[in-house]
């Protein structure tokens, strides 16, 4: 698989990331992420427990599972190893059956610490257009001059 390099010169403030959609989240996805991350918080895999503890729709996904999807979109867009900061706020829950879309927009382009950097705002939205994650990231991009 060839990955295209995004150069700093080709990025402008206001540029949008190619959206990434994760189709229908399943309980299996959640359990798979539980195993991989080690997050065995009961609210995320036991429907009966979740229903009894105030989650009226049963189990819901870990915030960082969607955070992982968002990181996938980011590295695909800005490049592997390019991230300097990545911040996520979990605004709403993700339920089995949800379809989430990862989005990003460049807000600032600048030089810092000898690097060519961009700041972005990020979001993960569900099928109702509701933000489930609000985030931001800073990345360092390669320059055509040094390439």
């Amino acid at each position: 698989m060839e990955r295209k390099t995004l150069f700093w010169e080709d990025v402008n403030e206001g540029d949008e990331a190619p959206e990434m959609v994760k189709d229908k989240i399943t309980r299996t996805d959640i359990v798979k992420y539980a195993g991989a991350s080690g997050d065995f918080a009961v609210m995320h895999h036991d429907d009966i427990y979740a229903l009894r503890h105030g989650s009226d729709r049963g189990v819901f996904a870990m915030g960082m599972m969607s955070g992982g999807y968002l990181s996938h979109m980011l590295t695909g867009w800005l490049g592997d190893g390019s991230l300097r900061k990545f911040k996520l706020r979990f605004a709403s829950r993700v339920w089995p059956g949800d379809v989430v879309t990862c989005k990003g927009t460049v807000t600032k382009k600048y030089k810092e610490s000898g690097e060519n950097r961009v700041d972005c705002i990020l979001s993960v939205e569900n099928q109702h257009g509701e933000q489930v994650i609000v985030g931001s990231a800073t990345a360092a991009l390669p320059s055509k001059r040094s390439a």
Binding site: M64, G68, T75, L88
Partner: protein, 151 residues
């Protein structure tokens, strides 16, 4: 939440960055990037070997946070993961053995939308590699709600 843990530093812990765990984690977030799986490809890309996805460090939290969680998460189901923040100084590489140093750096209160008090705790973990180089910092905000029905 027990406010006396503010400023508390927990004993350092070791976190080996394992190739198989990286693949399993990448599979779980449906990221098929070969840089997380294929040694040769990762070398060709200039990383010197397989690297880990940006959020892979979460794997260490559920190993290391036991004591902190026990102290902060007194009522099961009442605490939420509010925010997560990462600062990266170099990519995590398979084979690295990290040392994590965790500290409770902030605790504060807010009024929730539905009236109840919300208690916030920020846990910061700084990771260094086997060469003593700073690799990354993770900051996790936990929220505990007073009213069980809020979360």
């Amino acid at each position: 939440m027990d406010k006396s843990v503010l400023g508390k530093e927990y004993p350092p812990f070791e976190f080996p960055v394992e190739k198989g765990k990286i693949r399993e984690f990448a599979d779980a977030i449906y990221d098929d990037n070969p840089v997380y799986r294929d040694e040769k490809y990762a070398r060709k890309r200039g990383f010197g070997g397989i690297i880990a996805p940006p959020t892979f460090i979460m794997v260490s939290c559920f190993i290391s946070h036991d004591q902190a969680r026990e102290e902060l998460d007194r009522r099961p189901g009442a605490s939420l993961h509010g925010e997560e923040e990462f600062e990266y100084f170099q990519p995590l590489k398979a084979g690295d053995v990290l040392t994590g140093r965790m500290k409770t750096v902030k605790m504060f209160e807010k009024q929730g939308h539905r009236g109840g008090r919300m208690l916030f705790a920020v846990i910061e973990t700084t990771f260094t590699n086997q060469k003593g180089e700073k690799v990354m910092v993770a900051r996790e905000t936990m929220i505990e709600t007073e009213d069980d029905s809020v979360h």
